[in-house]
Amino acid sequence: TSTNVSYALDELIKEFKKDNPNINIKTTLASSGKLTAQIMHGAPYDIFMSANMKYPDLLYKRGIAITKPKVYAKGAISFFSVKYENPDFDTLEKVRQIAIANPKFAPYGKAAIEAFKNRGIYDRIKNKLIYSETVTGVIPYTIHSADVGIVAKSSLFSPNIKKIGKFYSKDVNPKYYTPIKQGVVLLKHNEDAKKFYDFLFTKKAKKIFKKYGYIE
């Protein structure tokens, strides 16, 4: 699983287990790129929930994934800050440092860049950017050093986020970026895995995704 899904995942699994108490689910968290590399070299995973479509596509094309990539949720991004109340695009122009996920490979980072460009501020703020390995990494960056971060909205719903104390967040207007299509593929013919895969597209699951800030 790509890390940004992890917060919703606990609840998804709980819900899933209500109906399928005998199925045990083990999760491995890592960046999507790493997981893809592992899967291509025989990692014993059954389902791959990516943070984008690119990697599932690749796996499908290579014939490793046995299902066509399907979008299970669309991610949204938020402004996040511990220093500035009501962080928004204007705040970005005032501050010194802005943390985002690395746009080279992290879809949430790409979305952030897209939003900056569409808003027409990219050239002005591009020197303030610092890049985190994963989108979750933006949060400690922002807490400890950067002024504002662009995070996955889903991470703001993590049960752990409350422990960090006071913070401010605000959705980035979706009109400035394409919501992040997150794809899932089935990797092995496995009854139980298939059940969970199907479960991801049920109403119940959709509800949970929505609760965690994903866009339908």
Binding site: K26, T28, A37, Q38, G42, P44, T136, G137, I139, I164
Partner: protein
């Protein structure tokens, strides 16, 4: 904290222990050879030996993944003849960590071998002892510091490693999810409290292990090294 899970720690120390032992067995003859050879290509071998440290761990991990996976000749060989999977398995972690930590074992050992007084080696030969006896009874006991450095750096480094381990092992609980990976996961999930606790446990155990080793070494050394 109802659910403190000690398996990752056990795995970590099991891994570090195994790797240290294996590397000692390989490293001693290899470093010995390096320290004695007059070969022209010695600097080449030495430089090659240090290379695994130069690559970022997860990149090295990536290459190891490619090399060790069952689709590669090596991985296939082990799979077909020993029924051993070298990726996403504990064995795989051992192999990968051995490669990654190799230089940390070799360097101090070679160093130790090169500092040994030639005369006592000759004295041992003239006592009728062959190279093996000489190695274990005369050479190694007289380079305890280097041996200790090699063991400690290798051990600690394997405990702390996670780039290679994550890549080659995945993080399969109970199998390849070692402590470093577990802690990393907590950080990623922003469960900082757990991350702190696990880190603290890690540090305390490691400190105790290291302290014990140094303490014993200290005592031992007094015996024949100190003056008045």
């Amino acid at each position: 904290m109802d659910e403190l899970n000690f398996t990752p720690f056990l795995l970590s120390f099991k891994l570090a222990f195994t790797v240290t032992i294996i590397l000692l067995v390989i490293g001693i003859p290899f470093a010995w050879y390096l320290s004695r050879t007059k070969s022209k290509i010695k600097p080449v071998i030495e430089a090659l030996t240090a290379l695994p440290i130069v690559l970022p761990p997860s990149v090295l991990g990536f290459y190891l993944l490619v090399i060790l996976s069952t689709s590669s000749p090596i991985g296939k060989f082990f799979w077909e003849y020993f029924n051993m999977k070298l990726v996403f398995s504990f064995e795989g972690l051992v192999v990968a960590s051995c490669i990654y930590s190799f230089p940390f074992m070799i360097q101090p050992l070679q160093n130790g071998f090169e500092n040994i007084d030639k005369n006592i080696i000759e004295a041992s030969y003239l006592s009728g002892k062959g190279p093996i006896m000489t190695l274990f009874k005369v050479i190694l006991p007289n380079m305890k510091d280097s041996l200790l450095t090699a063991i400690i750096i290798t051990f600690a480094h394997t405990v702390g490693e996670f780039g290679v381990v994550l890549m080659v092992g995945g993080s399969i609980p109970g199998k390849t999810e070692v402590a470093s990976v577990a802690i990393y996961d907590f950080v990623e999930m922003m469960d900082y409290e757990k991350a702190h606790i696990y880190s603290a446990i890690m540090l305390v155990i490691s400190f105790l292990v290291l302290f014990a080793v140094y303490f014993i070494n200290h005592k031992n050394k007094r015996k024949f090294n100190d003056v008045y």
